[in-house]
């Protein structure tokens, strides 16, 4: 994707998006509802067309020419209610260019794998929503595509099926297929992906691997509970400490830039005995909220923040 922009009337859904997903990667698109994830995915799928910018999918100018090599589970997913499950899957297979006598066997095999073996002859509207979702997952992977795109694949699933789907998901990834999925549930992305793209209000605000994000959003906070509360004063005077504030069950120490958290922790231990001391690891959610709120609160900082993020992303982003 190169400078992709899409507007609907007055609203800019996706603004000047640059993005490259390497082959075989497992990418997660995260962002709140209405951020532009689905629009981005629809443009990748050539269901929508960008107003500006260029985009290439699997080496072709658009997904139109490579639709058969892409598996897609849309967010707005449905089935033909009156159609038999087996017939529906075979139709989807045919529409995706898979044909021949083995198609039927494949459909049955997949249905067995997701515990829907007895549903081949059932009508689609006899299935629960979660079961339909599994059927749609099969429709996306049936033709063995090279690129898989899942839009909010886990929404509405119970934990058992969520795990089942996640395993199938990772299996596709291990088979060397490129997988992109979107979610607004951050911890799912954190568990699954090796690379994250964060979108907010149509802007890409982050594009980095999980490790890079951890490095970049290095913990600048140490939590500790001194045995003697007076010890906190001593800590405040240590070099490299910006502030010490009481927090739940202890104190929060914010670090000045350039301070090594590990060293500081040693120094704190030397100053005062503690019952507990830890580095606060930021969750993805923290990172996201951090970025978003900073975005909103300090318009002036927006440009520099984004520049910083882009620089960080560019370093880590594969060519």
């Amino acid at each position: 994707m190169d400078g992709i922009t899409k507007t609907f009337g007055e609203k800019v859904a996706v603004r000047n998006m640059n993005l490259a997903v390497p082959e075989g990667a497992l990418y997660g698109f995260i962002g709140p509802n209405g951020a532009g994830k689905t629009t981005t995915i629809r443009m990748i799928m050539s269901i929508l067309f960008p107003d500006a910018g260029r985009l290439s999918v699997l080496g072709k100018a658009s997904a139109v020419e490579s639709k058969d090599r892409i598996g897609y589970l849309p967010e707005e997913r449905g089935v033909y209610k009156k159609m038999k499950v087996g017939a529906f899957l075979k139709l989807m297979g045919k529409l995706k260019g898979a044909s021949g006598p083995e198609l039927d066997g494949k459909v049955k095999g997949w249905l067995e794998r997701v515990d829907l073996g007895d549903c081949y002859k059932k009508r689609c509207d006899e299935l629960s929503k979660g079961m339909q979702q599994k059927v749609q997952f099969i429709a996306a992977v049936l033709h063995e595509p090279d690129l898989l795109i899942f839009d909010e694949p886990f929404s509405g699933l119970d934990p058992v099926n969520m795990r089942l789907l996640r395993d199938l998901f990772l299996e596709q990834h291990r088979a060397g297929r490129t997988v992109i999925f979107s979610t607004h549930v951050m911890h799912q992305a954190e568990q699954l992906c090796d690379h994250l793209v964060m979108i907010n209000k149509g802007d890409k605000v982050l594009d980095a691997s999980i490790d890079e994000i951890r490095d970049q959003y290095d913990p600048r906070t140490i939590l500790f509970s001194p045995v003697d509360p007076a010890g906190a004063n001593a800590v405040a005077s240590l070099p490299g400490v910006e502030a010490v504030e009481p927090s739940e069950g202890g104190f929060e120490v914010s670090l000045l830039n350039g301070t090594q958290p590990a060293e500081l922790m040693q120094q704190i231990l030397q100053q005062t005995p503690v019952s507990k001391i830890e580095l606060r690891r930021p969750t993805l959610e923290d990172v996201f909220i951090d970025i978003v709120t900073r975005d909103a609160a300090h318009e002036a900082d927006e440009a520099s923040l984004r520049a910083a993020l882009r620089a960080g992303a560019a370093e880590g982003a594969p060519a």
């Binding site: 629809r42 799928m45 050539s46 269901i47 929508l48 139109v64 639709k67 058969d68 892409i70 897609y72 849309p74 707005e76 997913r77 449905g78 089935v79 033909y80 209610k81 009156k82 159609m83 139709l91 989807m92 045919k94 529409l95 995706k96 260019g97 044909s99 749609q136 429709a139 996306a140």
Partner: protein, 469 residues
């Protein structure tokens, strides 16, 4: 590419045609109706009039009618009336069938037919005519007519008051007087007809007697035989003028066309809305382009229309063959019908696909659909003028201007004065160009509309989408 379009077309076709609802709605119900109509007609015709026994009071103020009434409403008199009525029905049938009557003459003259018609009158009523004096108390007689006055065989069922000048004109008057008739409520209309007929004949007979003319002579003088009108066409052959068949064929052609076009189009609208509302559309769009999807759907539903057209046209042709009227319809007319079906269908289906893609549910489609439906309904109004004069300026213009042209031209082609070939070719060319335009418009709207949810659009929005796409 082609296999994808074919897969969609097949799904569209099979999910529509291979359903019980379609088989019942499209074939079973019309078939049952076709079977039921003759049955109902037969049933109503054969429902026998109930038995009737009673008295008819006559206040004969003219003083010359009563004997005639007595004779005509006697058992023999009634039998004569029934026989005369039967033969009149037979003659009317013969006139309506035109040339066919020659072939059927034997069957029509069959005494069995006469007997069957006579049977419709049920058991011969037994009536006793009761002469009343001129100054009889009419109110008292009317009181006796009331149904509660008892169901005995002696009860009064009718009362006729014959005017004094019914037989002899009053001085200076131009017209004769008549009679007043009172009938007991709920008397079968066939019986009323019998009594009226008896009274009328009796009055006429009395008048003839006074005028000194022979009744048979009058009948002979007043009837002119004008069996059938023959038309001389430009080829010089005498042909029977517009009979029912000749008028009906264009109508049947038009109805066939409208029906087959509408059925496919309606299903197209519903399935498109269903795909949109069930959200299956985005799954489909990940596999095929909007254009492929629309093409497949339109072709699939065209198959539905073709099935309808083939079945009904087949039945129609079979009927014509059965009536030995097959020469009215030539293979080329059927081919033209087929071509115009395709053109009309594409125009109609394009709009239906566009509308279906633009709205969220069937209810919202209504307002957009109305103008399209009206266009299809218009031919109904123009059928008669076109059939009457298939080569008038109105007929010519209507058959050239889409979207009316397929319907108007089909009516002209099926008429007894088919248009020259160049007109058919020109009309087809214009209509085909228009159809292509419609498909182009629909493709644009379809592409944008499929993923648009929310406020139902109007035609202005659709045009904006076309510019956008």
């Amino acid at each position: 590419m082609i296999t994808k379009v074919a897969a969609i077309a097949w799904r569209e076709f099979s999910s529509t045609v291979l359903t019980k609802a379609f088989l019942i709605g499209a074939f079973l119900i019309p078939m049952l109706a076709a079977l039921a109509i003759p049955l109902i007609v037969k049933f109503t015709n054969e429902a026998k009039a109930p038995e009737l026994t009673g008295r008819v009071a006559i206040v004969d103020r003219s003083g010359a009618v009563l004997p005639g009434v007595e004779r005509r409403l006697s058992k023999e008199g009634i039998a004569t009336i029934i026989a005369e009525t039967s033969s009149m029905v037979q003659q009317q049938l013969a006139a309506q069938l035109g040339e066919e009557a020659e072939k059927w003459r034997e069957q029509l003259d069959n005494p069995m037919v006469a007997a069957a018609i006579a049977q419709g009158f049920g058991p011969t009523p037994v009536l006793t005519v009761e002469g009343q004096p001129d100054d009889a108390d009419i109110d008292a007689l009317r009181e006796r007519l009331k149904p509660m006055a008892g169901e005995s065989t002696d009860a009064l069922v009718g009362l006729a008051v014959i005017a004094p000048d019914a037989v002899q004109r009053a001085p200076d008057a131009e017209a004769f007087g008549g009679y007043e008739l009172f009938i007991r409520a709920k008397t079968d209309d066939r019986h009323i007809d019998l009594i009226r007929r008896g009274l009328r004949d009796a009055v006429l007979e009395a008048r003839y007697a006074v005028a000194g003319v022979d009744a048979r002579e009058v009948e002979a003088l007043t009837s002119v035989a004008a069996p059938r009108t023959k038309e001389i066409t430009d080829k010089g052959d005498a042909r029977e003028a517009t009979t029912a068949f000749n008028m009906m064929l264009p109508f049947v052609f038009m109805i066939l066309l409208i029906m087959s076009v509408m059925v496919g189009g309606q299903y197209l609208l519903t399935t498109t809305i269903e795909e949109k509302s069930s959200r299956v559309v985005e799954v489909l769009l990940s596999a095929v382009s909007p254009m492929q999807l629309m093409t497949g759907k339109i072709l699939g539903q065209m198959g539905v229309g073709v099935v309808m057209l083939a079945v009904y046209a087949g039945v129609g042709v079979a009927t014509l063959v059965a009536f030995a009227k097959a020469d009215l319809i030539s293979p080329e007319k059927l081919i033209y019908l087929g071509v115009y079906f395709v053109l009309a269908y594409f125009i109609f289906a394009s709009f239906m696909a566009a509308i279906g893609s633009a709205v969220n549910e069937l209810r919202e489609a209504q307002s957009l659909q109305t103008p399209v439906m009206l266009t299809v309904m218009l031919p109904y109004f123009f059928w008669l003028p076109i059939t009457r004069d298939p080569n008038s300026t109105l007929s010519f213009v209507l058959s050239m201007v889409p979207p009316m042209s397929p319907f108007a031209m089909v009516v002209r082609i099926a008429s007894t004065e088919p248009p020259p070939f160049w007109q058919i070719a020109l009309s087809m060319a214009i209509t085909a160009a228009f159809a292509l335009g419609c498909i182009w418009f629909a493709a644009k709207v379809f592409r944008v509309g499929l993923l648009m949810f929310g406020k139902p659009p109007n035609f202005k929005t659709l045009v904006r989408w076309v510019r956008m796409a």
